[in-house]
Amino acid sequence: MAVSLYGPEDARQTVCVYLEHNAGRLEDVSLGLISKALELTSGSDWRVCGLILGDDTRKPAQEALARGLGEVISIQHEIMTRFDVSAFTRACFEVILQEKPAVFILGATPDGRDLAGRLAVRLRTGLNADCTDLRLNLETGQLISEVSGFGGGVIALLESPAHRPQMSTVRPGVFEQQFVRPVKSGVIRQIDVSLSRSDLQSELLERSVGERLDLSKSQVLICGGRGMHGEFVQLNALAEQLGGEVGATRPPVDEGYIERERQIGQTGVVCRPKLAVTCGISGAFHFVVGIQEADTVVAINIDPQAEIFNYCDYGVVADAHQVIPALIEALARESHSSHA
């Protein structure tokens, strides 16, 4: 069997959380991971520590302590002004071999995926991608990662019994940040890793990041699926009218009708809106996990047998292309009369 660089017998009862930060603040995905790690280990001897890298990590490391982490390992180096997969892999690899955590979890962001994919190979260990939940057996140290299977709301449980660290990535929005009391005695440990410019794999010539769309914060979500046949104009109008955002299933994203940032579900965004309206969506569980936490779900589908009707509060069997314009008009009339 392929053997990892250390095994269960050498692993420590530690959950290590990779902390991503931007402009001095921790990313929401990392805050969610902190909450989950604390929840998984609460009341036990297990230790949770954050791992943060950058040229200046002071502020986000403090923020992690304020969020309840007892310990943050920080690697600061002048060359780490931004994420570089080679340098970051090297630094994380050294820390992991020193600390030997049983569990290492990361956000399934572009950077998190790049890093996790390389690290798992360097450590010769297992990596579970895009998990929708995590469980930890505190006795055996076994991590169980949930991913949604195909159809019918089946979830698959993944484990790496003989390899350490057990690595998993989790999509943004899956774990909610809980508000916890900061740990007074929390410590930030600086670890030195020898790095030089030659450890950078690429030269970043340009970077432009504008306002990032974050559907996980939207209160109203109007979602379109393959049944919209690429037509998102009306859904945009409805979202606009209700002050919400448009989301989509994977097919319209893959076909290029709408941006990837708007994909809802296991490999997209997991949302917690007050209202989700699904139009032309069959109700595959990969999608449904993305709106499970919605307060109210309204489904419009032309097929009365569609699975989505099992996951909705209000269902309409109709052609979405006809219902939506009529609905937009009815809403306009309603707001007109209520303002009159």
Partner: protein, 268 residues
Amino acid sequence: MHEFHIVVCMKVVPKAEEIRVDPESLLLDRENARSEINPPDMNAIEHALRIKDQCRARVSILSMGPPLFESILRVGLAMGADDFYLLSDRAFAGADTLATTYTLARGIDKIGDVDLVICGEESADGATGQVPAGIAEWLGWPQVTLATEFQLSDDYTVCTARREIPGGYEVHRVKLPAVFSVKTASNEPRFMDFDRKPWAMEEAGVIVWSRSDIEVEDDLIGLKGSPTIVSGLEQAETRARQQHMLEGDPESIAAQLAEILAPFHTRN
């Protein structure tokens, strides 16, 4: 001079909409699903062929999978690829991403003199998106994921790639050889070239390599080389919903819906 050589990693997936779950065993019924080229890999090969359109380059398809992949991936030859390497061996079966990337990387070593490896963003079935980074690590090469454009230096030793990230983009410059994944839907894959079709579908020789051909360690391939296991299947707990079906003519339905939705207006 050595010919610029691009390897495109491609896999075959069951059509997502045709996969059914056996309600008793909760296992996948893939038998009755038709297979297709992983759609993001069509974007990968298109990027490779565009580079070939601009300079003298050889484009090879590389896949790890059962013999069934062969006839399906020949389409790539008809689109314009020159060679097709299939890593096929019973011992490769059951591979997770660690074993898959090891095997693909050994295949790339065996092909030799490769300048560029291009993968899709993620597969339609496993969808981990971890394979490109894993291949890059086994080979010790740089990686740029989510690329949308490629620009080669005049001497073909450096590649500048634009990558799409949430809310924006980055432009990276890396020394070759390097591994890339391309953003899904970042180009319009071409159709098969009908002049190439008879050759591609019938005559072209596909190079099939087994585990002894690519000199892999038995402990690192297939099920044996895979740390991750599926330890169980469960019915997910789902939130109970009212499942109230609205009835009536279109106008009445629109009115009922408007009444339900109006209170959620966030700008009130």
